[in-house]
């Protein structure tokens, strides 16, 4: 057991190190002089010199890399070019909005996926199953940047029920959460259906039914609990899908989260901010994956042995 967790931790450290390395070298992929691109052609030489010095671009690459690594370990992600504020501060100011959106999306996904997946598994190959699976196909194929506008057209423009954009009240959260959560709901409902179908064929379910237990108890207490183990893992892994989907969803609804911060950074060529956002999002993703993996290994001893 300890061995398993030590291995996971070492892998986590290695992956985070790799992520930091890759993010550092991103700025060196910029064709031409990054300072010229960031400040534009009209900038005066003194400003360019100062920024080059601030970013450490006047030093040898390996020295820059060592400095960047040292700063990142201490939580220093650099300074935003335009506001001159620390990048980490800007990220932390936006993070609660992104977290709120992702939690909202997860709630929406589970509210849709559980009833749909369970009902589909109870009557496989029936009309309900076919409809549920068609929804799942549709949900996976429907891009966020189309679903969002469609929801706005229907609920904000035609019905005038919900606000078009912004953040503040629960009403503001509804459309972005549905937009972001639908693809996850589609994926999860398929997973729940498949997992539940597997479990419903097990001997202990036959035994439970033979004992005369009501079908509701058999499904919800005996089958669903066991079917949930792989589903919980998928929910954890879906955080990555939510993180990248949130960038687009935030852009659609002008949601003031990390995604819009990253896109603002890209459009204003604020590369320290872009680097910081990417590093922060990737780190969260790696940590959530590690936690999911560890929880799975803790819940199911077979995983640790593999």
């Amino acid at each position: 057991m300890t061995n398993y967790f030590v291995k996971r931790l070492l892998l986590l450290i290695f992956v985070l190190f790799g992520v930091v390395t890759l993010v550092f070298f991103l700025i060196h992929l910029i064709p031409g002089d990054p300072v010229d691109i960031m400040l534009g052609d009209t900038a005066v030489a003194a400003d360019k010199l100062a920024l080059r010095h601030d970013l450490g671009l006047d030093q040898p690459v390996m020295q820059q890399y060592g400095r960047y690594l040292g700063h990142v370990v201490q939580g220093d992600l650099g300074v935003s070019i335009h506001s001159r504020a620390p990048v980490l501060g800007e990220i932390m100011a936006r993070f609660p909005a992104s977290a709120e959106l992702m939690i909202g999306a997860m709630v929406v996904a589970m509210l849709i996926a559980f009833p749909l997946g369970i009902l589909a598994a109870l009557k496989p190959h029936g009309l309900l199953d076919a409809s549920a699976m068609f929804f799942s196909f549709l949900g996976i194929a429907m891009p966020h940047f189309w679903l969002g506008p469609l929801l706005i057209i229907l609920f904000s423009i035609q019905l005038n029920w919900l606000p078009v954009n912004g953040r503040g009240t629960l009403a503001h959260l509804v459309l972005p959460a549905i937009t972001l959560g639908t693809a996850m709901a589609a994926m999860l409902s398929r997973m729940i259906r498949a997992s539940l179908l597997d479990v419903l064929g097990e001997d202990y379910i036959r035994t439970a039914r033979a004992k005369g237990l009501p079908e509701r108890t058999v499904v919800l207490r005996h089958a669903l609990r066991n079917a949930l183990v792989p589903v919980i893992t998928v929910i954890g892994l879906q955080v990555g899908v939510l993180l990248s989907g949130a960038i687009i969803t935030e852009a659609i609804f002008d949601w003031p989260g990390l995604g819009t911060l990253l896109l603002d950074g890209i459009s204003t060529r604020n590369y320290p901010l872009v680097q910081g956002c990417i590093l922060f999002i990737a780190t969260i993703y790696v940590l959530v994956n590690m936690l999911t993996d560890t929880a799975y290994g803790w819940a199911d001893p077979r995983v640790r042995v593999r």
């Binding site: 290695f14 196909f137 429907m142 423009i157 960038i247 852009a251």
Partner: protein, 272 residues
């Protein structure tokens, strides 16, 4: 050939999109770049079947040309990412040892970037351009092929026919390319089909964010981004490109599902 009739429907839609892309100059009723500011945002009519966009350009013509970008990018990315991934997966799984460790750790690092994030980052620094979109999505895409192929090779390389080939003195290259590769192509083709769907969404997402084809180019994602600006007055500008993306993605997913039933029945979640 396929048990599921949705697979045939998917195939028909894909062929339809390919023909539309190929014959766009013949099929498009108007020049996709032609602007007509007097008739901007006009609704679908007999002269403009799907209406006109912000610049008064014909939406149907732009959709037909947009199919070219979506299909060319997605097929190019899957061909490139598939080739790189299959090659590296073969080497990694077959030779094992430090090559395998090194490649798989690289895979772990790339997988640490959720979804589109790395592609967004790469296009952001390389500059918005179709070529850079292909590069970014290839960098992202080869990983899943490499992981899949490595796993398949690990299983197949212990089979008797591989040992027989080795005993007969076949070179490593010959064993990998002639004996192992044909036996693992089924799951690779399935993965490739699903990947095309994924790349269509990814390319459109990048274009929607302004990181894809240059402004003005008829691309489905960019058309949706234009539509978002005029959602209140002209919802039709957003509806049709989104529908095209969804149909294309659905079609490739249906075909992928059919292929999976055929080549990898255990992997199917629909057929239980």
């Amino acid at each position: 050939m396929f048990r599921n009739r949705w697979t045939y429907l998917g195939l028909a839609v894909i062929v339809g999109f390919m023909l539309a892309a190929l014959f766009a100059p013949l099929l498009a009723p108007y020049d996709p770049l032609a602007m007509n500011l007097i008739e901007q945002l006009s609704r679908p009519s007999t002269t403009h079947w799907l209406g006109q966009d912000v610049n008064g350009s014909d939406i149907l013509s732009r959709l037909l040309y947009g199919a070219r970008i979506s299909l060319v990018v997605s097929l190019a990315v899957v061909a490139l990412a598939g080739s790189i991934g299959v090659l590296l997966g073969l080497i990694s799984g077959y030779f094992g040892g430090w090559t395998d460790t090194l490649l798989m750790r690289l895979v772990d690092i790339l997988l640490a970037f959720p979804g589109l994030l790395l592609a967004i980052a790469l296009v952001a620094v390389l500059g918005p351009d179709v070529k850079n979109v292909i590069i970014a999505l290839t960098v992202l895409g080869w990983v899943s092929f490499a992981r899949l192929v490595r796993g398949q090779v690990l299983a197949v390389k212990e089979r008797e026919f591989v040992m027989a080939a080795r005993a007969a003195g076949a070179s490593n290259r010959r064993i990998m390319l002639v004996h192992i590769l044909p036996n693992i192509m089924g799951p690779v083709i399935v993965q490739a089909t699903f990947s095309v769907a994924g790349v269509i969404i990814a390319e459109s997402s990048l274009s929607f964010l302004g990181l894809g084809a240059p402004p003005g180019t008829p691309s489905w994602g960019a058309m949706l981004a234009d539509g978002k600006q005029v959602l209140m007055d002209a919802p039709h500008v957003s509806i049709f490109p989104g529908l095209a993306i969804m149909l294309a993605v659905l079609a490739f997913n249906f075909v992928g599902d059919g292929l999976r039933d055929r080549y990898d029945p255990k992997g199917s979640s629909m057929k239980k």
